[in-house]
Amino acid sequence: MRSFTWWQFAWLVVVLNGPVVAQSVAVPFVAGFERFARHRDVDEAVAGRLLLSELSCTACHTSNSNDLKPKLGPRLDGAGSRFRHNWLAEFLTAPQQAKPGTTMPDVLASLPEAERGAAAHALAAFLSSLHEPFPDIKGTGARGVPFEFWKQGDADQGRRLYHQVGCVACHKPDDDYETVETKPSPLDQLIEQLDEDELRELGLSAATRRVPSVPHGNLVAKYSPQSLTYFLLDPHRTRAGGRMPNLKLGVVEAADIAAWLLKDGGSEIVPNKQQLTFSEDVIQTGRQLFRELGCSNCHSVNGVAAPKMSKPLVDLTMATPRSCVGSVQAGLPHFPLDSFQAETLKSALKENRENDSNQRDPLPKQQSEFAMLKLNCLACHERDGKGGVGRYRRPYFETVGHVDIGDEGRLPPPLTAVGQKLQPGWLTRVLKGTGDVRPHLRIRMPLFTDDQVKSLPTWLAQADQESRKSASGKDVFGDVSKLAEDGRQLLDTGCVQCHPLRGDALPGVVGTDLEGIAARVQPQWFHDFLLDPGKLKPRTRMPTFFPNGKSQNPAILDGNADRQVAAMWAYLKNADRLELPPKIQKARSQSYELIPKDRPIVLRTFMKEAGTHAIAVGFPEQVHFAFDAEQVRLAAAWQGRFLDAQGTWFVRFAPPADPLGEEQVSFPPGVPFVLLNESSGKGNELSEPNFDAKKAGYRFQGYRVDKSGVPTFLYRYGRFDIEDRIRPDADRTLVRRLSITDRTREEPPATLWLRGHFGKSLKHDGPFAYTNDVGVSISVPKGLKHAGKMETREAGTHWIVPLKVEQKEMIEVRYQW
């Protein structure tokens, strides 16, 4: 093993590989190969197959094996808009020199020196002649697309993003970039104290060695700010192989990262267009070369003929000197492999020949392992003891706000047995980029190509599950229809200490929200994990609530552990529709529930009971009301808890506020006073439309708050200014003081009729009161009662009470329910 450690730097190392190649060259860099195969952490056969696909051998040497599908090179339509001409020429002249680690073979290697330059130039001229406009990025309310955003990149911001969002999972971090210090895990602390031999003896070599970085090449020479920005925005558009995943960058983010990557370069916008001219002859020569050299086997270009195929893979050996590997051969592309790569490839070919005759399909386990090597999933995710964020890269995985949630919370999740854990549909969403559940991580789960999204979840599911079909919730938990409330209570005992639910959490809690978990994880996994978390996830921070499989809470479901887990499942399955666990509810109420303590609290909002001009007033006495400032009426009242203000304060959709308490009651509709046309004596004014404040000519004028915090509503009705102060008096009791001033002071004084009560039926309730059919009892002062009269109309019965207003009157009305 030790003899291979130097190989990790192999791509930088001068390799003398046969007599012909005498200059110093790097070798192709394949991330999975460099990290694992060089250390024999994967089977030789797998390592060889990895080279077959990643070096795109099968682009010329066809294979029936689907997993050997060639990676292929970028689509080159529009190459002239994307790459600088000089870089293309240099790269074609000597690929490994221009871009160390490139997986592109040297297709001009066998040409004499003088011709090579001309051929490279012709090819570059042809490619530079291929123009394609960059796609129009649609701007929407959800997506800000500044004008010519690629010109506005901010390199400092780009540097931060590069180190935060995931670029450095594969690429090299800047040595000088400082991360915020995180506390090393106990394991890391231990590792720091061991030397290499000790680490090897402990079997920790793989986990602790430096992971080689995917080289960038000279980006300044290759890209313009615009073309690099567009590449970062959507790498799959030109590289269907999807090895570079899509990090879901916004246009400004992409421009910022591009600005940082190109910080040492100029700022020309378009690499070639209108700046370089080539004769049509050169371009045509280049086109011809492109086809004849087999470039189109890997690089699609519109209008260039179908690729020419070479010997099928199954017939290939590296025994003959006419090979793409080894010495340069006329007419063949040349792959400058080092001897380890060459040997690995050779044995893969041998194995391929043998297997092909056996017609053996790879197992899902192999398929998934292979796919994860190709896509470098293992750069971030550990699976079956392999991969994961390397020791020296961990500091770049930061949390939002730098909260300490341990490595388990900070690093991308391990994928060992993920097929048992996650539902395939959810895994598909994750790969599609719509399954992000860890908003507290700066790192982003990237987006993969459709092809990858289609196959990987299935393979993982098949690889990890013993039986073909996963157990349903019913299989695992049986009938859970009556268990949700128990589950809610159980969640309160532990889960809520670390997990938010529906975006609500105990103070300071940062973690994965449990909402929707039943659509994400498999019921069986949920069951097993809750019963013994450490068994499924060694060193997890998740504590066990069922030591030895025993519940600690005998009060719920007789302490039956299985039923308790089932109950939590039952609750979480429908958590979006059920009440929050009590502790979260309490935490939430501390933020958003309005709790009048010393003084009343006022909230203007929408309310079902009081309309779109509602003014809700809550009192420390726990009796609250809502006033409708549009209809100028006391609309509703309730007891107990007042209101939750989150919707009013912070929800875009302006939902109506619902009273939290109980004993809720609605008061009769309509304005408080009417003027009756005494001469007609018909009381037409009591017909419905006249209770409408606008039609009746009421004008709401606002309110004043007195020293004790109680609002007094002000409104005008004809010649009267009315002040209306309502406050609780006892349980289910409000007292309303109405002060009326006649602005005109005209003689004779007018008679205002208080609309005392209204209902389908009204009945006497003590000497000065009436109760209606919904149980609201309203009383007026003694002296007024006898002057009141009953008027019955189609809609119901009115009790109206006359009030002669001489300059100023005051009346106190009492509401009980």
């Binding site: 001309a118 800000g144 010109k151 916004g250 100029g266 908003p439 975006g503 103070p507 912070f650």
Partner: protein, 522 residues
């Protein structure tokens, strides 16, 4: 295989190929060199701006600034979206580390403006314009008087009320967002125009003014999302609108009696008492804007179109630079907030045949979040109120207050763009390099218009490239006169002056300008 001769021929051609000189390598000038940003208080939330369960940051005030007014050389007052007014002291300090916060008022329903006028604050809540005072001097408001109400509030969440801003006659101006996607009980609170059939809450999509004696007067109609109101130096009132149905792209409009702008559903209130717009019996839709103007006589073009993406994606507040030079070389011009792109644009206006029209320019980007409100401080610097909740914006924060300060360095910018009978006159902030300015290829000019239709936004249509025939430079080097054939009235004229250099060789900080040429001067 390509033979050797072909390759040699290719080599020969290579040697003969003329490689044009590299394009001028512009160093991207940095807006920050001229206008720097000071963050008074910004915060990032852990929930995204559109999260259904959005939460403010755990610490500090949820400073989602929806109204902003400068009190003096230490303090500003802000309205925040949750419904409060706060007074912030020490906001000019650098760094602003000792800012104090005092709550002045509460229980306001989504206030979207703030004005200090006389001894009171004014703000538009969803359902009314409110005058707020502290009558007992304890520092907390105790009087919330209704100055005006009576517009429809159906409960649809788009029905924002913005303002107020003051005009030269002491009127308070408000704008009322149109309702969108009304349903259920919301529809019961609408009114309907019997001929056109549109249903909206009363005065929805209208610009209103409240006279000093408290009368609510409908002035003009056809607004979609009029989140910005402001006066120009003459005291005429303008509002901004945002792209959407009937609104091709963001726009700036002069509010005056009887003007109809674009969103036709505002006509649901046409027959209400006091409406200055009557008798629209037919709506011309699906036409180019110039054609629609012919067929829809009530339609008034915006003073300025802001081409989508190029000059923002959602225009907000309007602020007049009244600093007389303390904020740089743009005294008397209007500045327009930009929500989605977290930016600010600049507008030059002139009157042609008695109507306003003019040009917009990029001005400053990279605010920490969506720019909703702006107010000029006593030292000329500009306070900028930020909040992106419910929609989305660029920037690293969710809400807060920043201050934009002129560094004293004059950027090389197109200060003014004036229409001429046969072209434009450009006024620059610094003398130009004469040679670059006289080169007719230094400026690219094109024109386009939009579709006037019920669908969301419009592409730029009927695009045409124009040729600069001749460019002359004034003696002082500050003015460049472009003679251009083929100007089209009612078209937006785009100018890209990327090759003009200042006398000391700088490129323009922003080489683009868009002039809304409603009328070609005679």
């Amino acid at each position: 295989m390509v033979n050797r001769n072909t390759l040699l021929a290719a080599l020969f051609c290579w040697l003969m190929t003329v490689v044009a000189a590299n394009a001028v390598a512009d160093d991207f000038a940095d807006e920050n060199d001229y206008y720097r940003l000071v963050s008074v208080d910004v915060a990032e939330t852990s929930t995204s701006s559109r999260a259904k369960n959005w939460k403010p940051a755990p610490d500090g005030l949820a400073l989602e600034v929806s109204g902003l007014t400068v009190l003096d050389d230490r303090r500003v007052a802000v309205a925040i979206r949750k419904g409060e007014i706060w007074i912030l002291d020490g906001v000019y300090d650098e760094p602003p580390k000792d800012v104090t916060y005092r709550r002045f008022a509460s229980a306001l329903h989504e206030p979207l403006g703030l004005l200090k006028h006389g001894d009171a604050f004014y703000t538009a809540q969803r359902s009314e314009l409110t005058r707020i005072r502290d009558t007992d001097g304890n520092g907390e408001a105790d009087e919330y008087l209704t100055v005006a109400k009576g517009w429809g509030v159906t409960g649809g969440y788009h029905e924002y009320a913005y303002g107020p801003k003051l005009d030269r006659d002491g009127n308070l101006w408000l704008t009322l967002n149109i309702g969108m996607g009304l349903k259920g009980a919301e529809l019961d609170r609408t009114i309907k125009d019997p001929i056109l059939g549109y249903r909206q809450g009363r005065w929805r999509g209208w610009g209103m003014k409240v006279s000093p004696d408290g009368e609510l007067v409908p002035v003009c109609a056809g607004m979609r999302s009029p989140s910005g109101i402001g006066a120009n130096a003459e005291g005429d009132m303008f509002y901004t609108d945002q792209q959407g149905n009937w609104v091709a792209t963001n726009s700036l409009h002069h509010m005056r009696e009887g003007a109809f702008f674009h969103h036709v559903e505002a006509l649901a209130s046409m027959n209400e008492e006091g409406s200055p717009i009557r008798n629209v019996k037919k709506v011309a839709g699906g036409l180019s804007y110039p054609e629609a103007m012919k067929q829809f006589p009530q339609l008034r073009p915006p003073a300025v179109w802001f081409p989508y993406k190029k000059a923002g994606q959602s225009a907000t507040d309007i602020m007049l630079d009244e600093s007389d030079g303390q904020f740089g070389p743009f005294a008397g011009q209007l500045f327009i907030g930009e929500f989605t792109q977290a930016a600010m644009h600049r507008v030059f206006l002139e009157k042609v045949d008695g109507e306003y029209q003019g040009a917009c320019f990029p001005f400053r980007s990279r605010f920490a979040s969506a720019v909703l409100r702006m107010a000029q401080g006593t030292d000329g610097s500009v306070f900028v109120g930020l909040t992106n909740r419910g929609w989305s914006s660029l920037g690293t924060a969710s809400y807060g207050l920043q201050r934009l300060v002129w560094t004293g360095k004059v950027p090389f910018e197109i200060q003014e763009m004036r229409a001429m009978p046969d072209g434009f006159e450009l006024v620059f902030t610094k003398p130009v390099d004469r040679q670059s300015a006289m080169e007719t290829s230094s400026c690219e000019v094109s024109s386009h218009t939009y579709l006037y239709h019920s669908t969301y936004g419009s592409d730029e249509i009927q695009k045409q490239n124009l040729t600069v025939k001749n460019a002359t430079v004034s003696e002082d080097g500050l003015r460049v006169r472009l003679h251009i054939d083929g100007l089209r009235d009612l078209f937006v004229h785009e100018l890209v002056a990327s090759k003009i250099r200042s006398h000391n060789g700088e490129p323009l900080l922003h080489p683009h300008a868009w002039y809304t040429l409603n009328r070609i001067p005679k």
